[in-house]
Subunit: 470 residues, 2 copies
């Protein structure tokens, strides 16, 4: 009996007998759906995931790619994976231009001298050693900035204070992302000498949110930083009263060809080990906090799920490969992984990355065509009691680090976690262990473990399902 | 008819006719209780208090006593009081030793190098220019530190991580206060070279809470700083694994005989102007935030209440004096005021200070003997519909700035505001305007305005009531 058919039969029996617990005893002990369900139950009381992120954030702390701390994190991760029984544990090196934060400050020079809470955007160039002092041009929306005429910002510091929408699915961040990534070059095109934005965040604390920018080729590169949200609102009030002058100082540096590593560990499949279910998170973090929710938690979830599966009496047919990516925040590790594994895409059954915090999974998006399949229906029945539901919409993407794999034809999955408060602390000094609720983290491990196990133990073929759905 | 009797009669009529609104029309237009009630109603939709704190925190920002910003705040306050119709507006100078923050940083040197979020305690001495590096001795309670033997902390940095209790009445802060004020000297007595405490706060943000310490005479003065709460918990986890070394750098300075001012404005009484109802807040703030809840809001409340009374067709009998104290955070302005006004205590009918945030008043504590008086009963009936109740217990104190007046025999009142979240942002960079809910602020203005008006327009004699109650 093939894997999918087996799942279907078990799922139908499970559904029929939902209120007759003794009936499940009659099922074969190795039935995939039963095992997936029991993995989920065990995950709900397994301390391994929280222990993982507690140890990493305490014993290493921040681990910006390119720093000595990240190198220690790589060694920590290899040790941790080996100790948990993973096989083929190794670190795959690559190089990238490491951006390292320097001093950073912003002060209102007039009319009311005061300090502002700011942090440089990742990739920002430095100011002059003495800083830049200029009058600001404040725009309450990004569209207002884009509507400004060329030359209209000559010599000014452009400030965009557009608010970000709080949303469970994080859609507010996606919508606001161009303000951070492209705002610096858009401001520069119009003559600005520096760029400040209201942090892309949903909190009201004096802790600015960093994050990467993307300079446009051929446009002058101007220094760029994020204002804490109360500070952006302070500037709005002051700018409404008259001209405001700011002095901005940023001294970041770049180290070309810095080393980083994607750390890999596997649970080898016992029937078709060359077929790979690839799951990951990213080991690097921003430098302001300790990277607890971004992305200690994500790694902890896939680690915790895979570890439970490794502890089963019988391994799944396919190999489960955990990849802890090494430079996600600056967008380098996914491409490095894809390049190092060119030609292997066909062996990857499915790829998924947990990189959206530490809260519960409320929705699962499978590759196109899979939601309505036997696999999808079986998974839906298993995760529904955990509070997650199968989304009929396919996963559009699975995470920054697997985008290149997706482009190479690898099916991707998206297990969506509750992100209502994710952007309260995202990319700030506040991203620390105390923000993680172990109970919610464990629910995410439960859902991931069910998905991973079903994908690795069955013969589901997401490529065929996608082709059939067209 | 005397003031108290008049209040009583009006209050009884009001109570009897609570559901017959037309009946109140029959009351004399100048009835005190009716006027006090209508003041409260007007306060609920009066933007003046919020405008006050918005302007101050935006146009001045932080205003640590002894800084140029505080000097600007004094000028701002004089202008503001005059514009609002206050009389006898002036600034009363005094001098004090101003403590000015310098650089501050703390880093875990080993076993896991990482930065900690710290801020120097007000009054702390500086470290050496290169900082202090030492192993920590961590105590989870202050009692554990006090139990340590002399010499047992030789050469170490003492760290106390006791938690503070969240409480509506702020009692958690009072209980924990010795950890900050006296902990440095207690640690020094036992040989410590520096002192760190878990911030006295109820949040979980990387924003440490500053506040003043009190060195004990004859004990070595060691540098002292507060850890942000997530950082204190990080140290607890690390210390549980083994020795932890920290490097602490603090470079504050002290300027002796720095100038400050208590800013005064009055609404002169039209019958007994020499009898004074003294109400205040403090104009100085800590330097990390913009002093919105501490104590921009408190000043805004008494300003807003007094301003409403100033706008009445008929002034109260007694003078209302607003004092904006100039160095509360370092505990100098109350003594300066009392010293400058020695011998005048007998003319002060009652004193009160609003210095507990921006939320609603839920309880009013009058001087001893007043709760059961006609005055107390009348006030209770007026403030009950606003959500505040008369506490049968007398006010034990009325605020740091009026403690010396209280010692000199001045009766004090305490209008207690909801402090459940006051210590989330207290003394941190997060004390900014966005933390204030104008609706709750206005409720506090309403209750204060009723109290102030009744005290100033009646002939209540709190000293006699206290004597009679003995």
């Amino acid at each position: 009996m093939g894997g999918i058919l087996r799942i279907l039969v078990v799922a139908i029996v499970l559904a029929a007998c939902a209120n007759a617990t003794s009936a499940t005893d009659a099922l074969p002990a190795n039935s995939l759906a039963v095992t997936a369900s029991s993995l989920g139950q065990r995950a709900l009381s397994d301390p391994a995931a929280f222990d993982f992120v507690a140890s990493l954030t305490t014993e290493i702390g921040q681990r910006l790619a390119g720093t000595e701390a990240h190198r220690r994190a790589v060694a920590w991760a290899e040790t941790r994976l080996k100790a948990a029984g993973f096989e083929n544990v190794h670190a795959e090196p690559f190089t990238f231009p490491a951006w390292i934060r320097g001093a950073e400050s912003a002060d209102i020079v007039g009319p009311a001298p005061q300090q502002l809470a700011v942090t440089a955007l990742g990739g920002s160039v430095a100011t002059d050693a003495g800083g830049i002092e200029a009058e600001i041009a404040l725009f309450r929306t990004y569209d207002d900035l884009l509507s400004a005429a060329p030359g209209s910002l000559n010599g000014k510091i452009a400030v965009v204070t557009q608010r970000m929408v709080r949303a469970q699915d994080g859609s507010g961040y996606g919508a606001a992302n161009p303000i951070r990534r492209h705002g610096p070059s858009e401001a520069a095109k119009r003559g600005a000498v520096a760029y400040l934005l209201r942090s892309l965040g949903t909190d009201h604390h004096r802790l600015p949110h960093t994050g990467a920018l993307n300079y446009e080729d051929g446009v002058p590169r101007i220094p760029a930083a994020a204002l804490a949200i109360p500070d952006a609102e302070q500037l709005e009030r002051l700018a409404a009263k008259g001209p405001v002058r700011i002095r901005l100082l940023l001294t970041p540096t770049v180290r070309e060809n810095a080393p980083s590593w994607n750390v890999v560990g596997e649970i080898k499949g016992n029937e078709r080990p060359d077929q790979v279910v690839l799951i990951g998170g990213h080991l690097d973090s921003w430098d302001l906090g300790t990277g607890a929710t971004d992305d200690g938690a994500g790694m902890a979830i896939v680690f915790g799920a895979a570890r439970l599966i490794a502890g089963l009496p019988r391994r799944p047919a396919r190999t489960i490969r955990v990849v802890l990516f090494g430079a996600e925040e600056m967008n380098f590790s996914g491409a490095a992984y894809a390049q190092a594994h060119q030609g292997e895409a066909g062996k990857i059954v499915v790829a998924g990355e947990a990189d959206f915090g530490a809260r519960n999974v409320y929705s699962v998006q499978l590759p196109a065509g899979a939601a309505g399949s036997d696999f999808g229906r079986a998974l839906d029945r298993i995760v529904a009691p955990l509070g997650a539901n199968l989304d009929r919409r396919p996963a559009l993407g699975g995470g920054d680090d697997i985008r290149e794999l997706q482009k190479a034809g690898v099916p991707v999955v998206s297990l969506r976690q509750d992100g209502l408060d994710y952007f309260d602390t995202h990319h700030t000094a506040d991203d620390t262990l105390d923000k993680i609720d172990p109970r919610q983290l464990d629910q995410a491990v439960a859902v991931w473990s069910a998905f991973i196990y079903l994908a690795a133990a069955s013969d589901v073929d997401f490529r065929s399902l996608a082709a059939a759905a067209k």
